[in-house]
C-alpha cells in the first residue's frame, strides 16, 4: 500500500465493491446501480463531500431500515408538464436519476417540465441529476431540502437544511456548466473537521447556543446562512425558496420537522422531497444559436483576469470536468477516515472485500 493515509482507488474497482456490498445488503439492482453511479460520479468530479465518503452512511441507513431496499417507484403525471414520483421510501439517488430522465422527456415535448419526488431519502449531490438533464439537451434545476442545520438570518437555532441550489446548462462537446452549492457558507462537516484539528473558523459562519457569531468550532451550534451578518437574508431567502419547493409544494414536511440525517433514529423513513425542473435548450431558438451564445458567454468569462497572478478564471463546473479526467486515470483518493469507515463495512458484512482493494492499490 502506497500510503495508508491517502490511497487512490480505481473507480471501477470501487464500483464493483459497491455493487457487491449492495447485493449483500439486499438492495435491488436499480437502486444499487443508481447509488453507485451517483457516488462514484461525484467522487470522480472531486466532490468528495457528496461522493464515496457518504457510502458508509447509506450502509447504516439501509441496515437500520430507514431505506426501502426494494422500492416500487411510481410516476404519476399530474398535468401535461408536471409529474410526481413516489419514491416509496427507497434511495434518493434511484428516484432522482429516474426523475431526471422523466423531466427531460417532459421538457423535450412541452418546453419545460417539473418532477416532484415524494417519500424519498438523502440523494447526495443535487448536481449529479442535473448533469443527466444536461445530457438530454435541457437546462436543469435540481433542489432538495434536508433536516435543520442552518439558522434563519437574524436567528440562531437550526431551522432550514443546507438546501443546495443546483443549475446545469449543457455546453458543446459533452461539457456542462454546473453550479451546485449549499446555501449555508459551510457544511456542518467543516465544523467537525475544525474541532478534530483544533482549527479556528474564519468569517461569519456559525452561531453559538446564545445566538452569538463565533469562530470557535466547539461552541458552534448552528450554521449561518450564506452572506453572514449583513447579507445572510440573501442566503436564507434562497434556502427558504428551495425549502418551499421541496416541502410545502411537494406535500412533504419542511426541513425543520424532518428526522435528522445523522440519527440516532436510522429506522424510520425520512420522507424527503426533491424538485427537478428541466428547460429545453432550443425552446426559444435553435440549438446552434443556443450553443453559439453560451459559448460566447464562456469565452468572455474565461478571458477575464484572475486576481491571483498566473491563475485563470474557470467557469462553474470546469474544475470538476478537469478533475474527472485525472481521477479516471489516477483513481479516487481515500483518506484515513474513509478507509477506516470502509473497513468497518467489511466487518459489518463479514467480508474482506475492501481489504482486497487496498492490497491491489499497494501493488
Amino acid at each position: 500500500m502506497k500510503n495508508s493515509h491517502n490511497v487512490k482507488v480505481n473507480h471501477q474497482s470501487i464500483s464493483h465493491y459497491l455493487h457487491y456490498t449492495n447485493k449483500i445488503l439486499g438492495l435491488n439492482n436499480k437502486s444499487s446501480e443508481y447509488l453507485t453511479k451517483s457516488l462514484i460520479g461525484s467522487s470522480l468530479r472531486g466532490v468528495d463531500s457528496h461522493g464515496l465518503r457518504l457510502y458508509p452512511h447509506y450502509v447504516s441507513a439501509i441496515i437500520g431500515g430507514r431505506i426501502n431496499k426494494k422500492p416500487k417507484m411510481k410516476f404519476k403525471m399530474k398535468t401535461t408538464s408536471a409529474c410526481i414520483l413516489d419514491a416509496n421510501n427507497g434511495l434518493g439517488h434511484h428516484a432522482s436519476y429516474l426523475a431526471a430522465d422523466k423531466v427531460s422527456k417532459i421538457a423535450s415535448k412541452t418546453g419545460i417540465g417539473i418532477v416532484g419526488i415524494i417519500n424519498s431519502s438523502h440523494n447526495a449531490a443535487a448536481g449529479a441529476y442535473n448533469i443527466e438533464i444536461a445530457k438530454n439537451n435541457c437546462i436543469g434545476l435540481s433542489f432538495t431540502h434536508s433536516d435543520a442545520m442552518v439558522s434563519p438570518h437574524g436567528g440562531y437555532k437550526k431551522f432550514n437544511g443546507t438546501n443546495p441550489y443546483s443549475f446545469c446548462a449543457p455546453l458543446k462537446n459533452d461539457k456542462y456548466f454546473l453550479v451546485d452549492f449549499a446555501t449555508s457558507n459551510i457544511p456542518w462537516n467543516k465544523v467537525l473537521r475544525a474541532r478534530g484539528n483544533n482549527w479556528k473558523l474564519s468569517g461569519e459562519l456559525v452561531v453559538d447556543k446564545k445566538g452569538r457569531m463565533t469562530k470557535n468550532p466547539f461552541t458552534a451550534d448552528s450554521l449561518y446562512p450564506l452572506g453572514g451578518i449583513s447579507y445572510g437574508h440573501k442566503g436564507f431567502g434562497l434556502s427558504s425558496s428551495i425549502e418551499i419547493l421541496c416541502g410545502p409544494l411537494t406535500g412533504m414536511l419542511h426541513g425543520f420537522r424532518l428526522l435528522p440525517m445523522n440519527g440516532p433514529d436510522f429506522k424510520t423513513y425520512r420522507k424527503l422531497g426533491h424538485i427537478l425542473i428541466a428547460i429545453k435548450i432550443d425552446v426559444f431558438q435553435s440549438k446552434t444559436q443556443y450553443y453559439r451564445k453560451i459559448n460566447n458567454y464562456i469565452n468572455d468569462l474565461k478571458k477575464q483576469k484572475s486576481n491571483i497572478k498566473k491563475k485563470q478564471i474557470y467557469f462553474p463546473g470546469e474544475l470538476e470536468i478537469i478533475e474527472e479526467k485525472k481521477r479516471i486515470n489516477n483513481g479516487i483518493p481515500f483518506d484515513k477516515e474513509m478507509i477506516n469507515a470502509y473497513k468497518l463495512i467489511d466487518k459489518k458484512l463479514k467480508i474482506d472485500r475492501f481489504k482486497t482493494i487496498l492490497k491491489s492499490v499497494s501493488k
Copy 2:
C-alpha cells in the same frame, strides 16, 4: 412643506403625476400603466432602490430614444408550456407584467410554464412580477440580467450584472413569501452613497482596479459576488445561472455585452432578456394541503428566536407587507436627491406638476 429633505407623498398623487408626465413623454397607455404600477408598488413596499427613485432614469431613457414608447408586444407560443414575448424594445415593466399574466395562465393549464422576454429594457424590481404570479395561485421565479457590474469570483473586472434572484409563493389572505435580492452583496448605488458621504465600506464587497478587495469607495471599481473572498463562488454561480437563462437561453446578448444602463448612450435599444417561470401551487396536491403546509413552515419560522433581544424573525417579504400598509396611509418618502430629480423632470417637460405635489404635501 414639512421638511424639504424628506417629505412623504401620497401614492395616488404621485401616480397621477406619473400618468401625466408619461403622456407628455408620449408613452402609450399600457406602458404608462405598467411602469407606474411597478414603481409605485415597489416604493409602497419600501423597496426604494427599485421604485420611484428610478423614474427620472426612465424619463431620460424615454427622451433619449432607448425605449420604444408605443411598442407592439407580441407573444408567440413555442411549445405547450413555453412562450416568447417580443417586447419590441418597449419598457421592461410593461413586458414583464404581460408575461406574468401569461406564464400563470400556462402554468394553470400544464402545471409549469416559462415565458422568455426578448428585446426588452430595464424592468426595475424582479419581485414585482412575481407578486402577480402569486396572485394567480402560482409560485413564481422571476429573473433578469443587466449590464456588467460584478466581477467573477477570483477576478476583478465587471462581468455579470447584479442579476437578481426572485422567488414568490402565495400565502393565505393575499399575503406572499417574497425573496428578491441582487447576487452581489451590495448595489453600485451604495458605493456612490458611500462616496457622497465619505463613508468606508465594510466587508468583502468591492474590488479596485488592480483586483484588491477594498473598503475605500473611491477606489472601488467593481462589485464582488455575494459570499466574498471565501464563498463568492456561490454568489457568482447563482448570478451566472440567471445570466444563462436571460441571455443565451432567450437569445439575447449576455450582460457583459449589453450597453450600460447609466449611459452615456441613451439612444440605442438595450435588448435585455428576462425569464419568468410559474408553477401551479396545487400541481402535486390540493390548494388546501399546500396552504396548510406552507402555513406550518411560516409558523415554525416565526417561532424562532431572534439574536437581537425583543426582536422577532420575519419571513422574507413580511416587512414589505407591513411597510406597504404604513405607506398607503402615510405616503412614500421622497428625499432631497429624489425631490431635485423630480423637479428636473418638471423643468425638462416645462410643467410645474411636481412642485404642486410638494405644495400639497406641506398643507
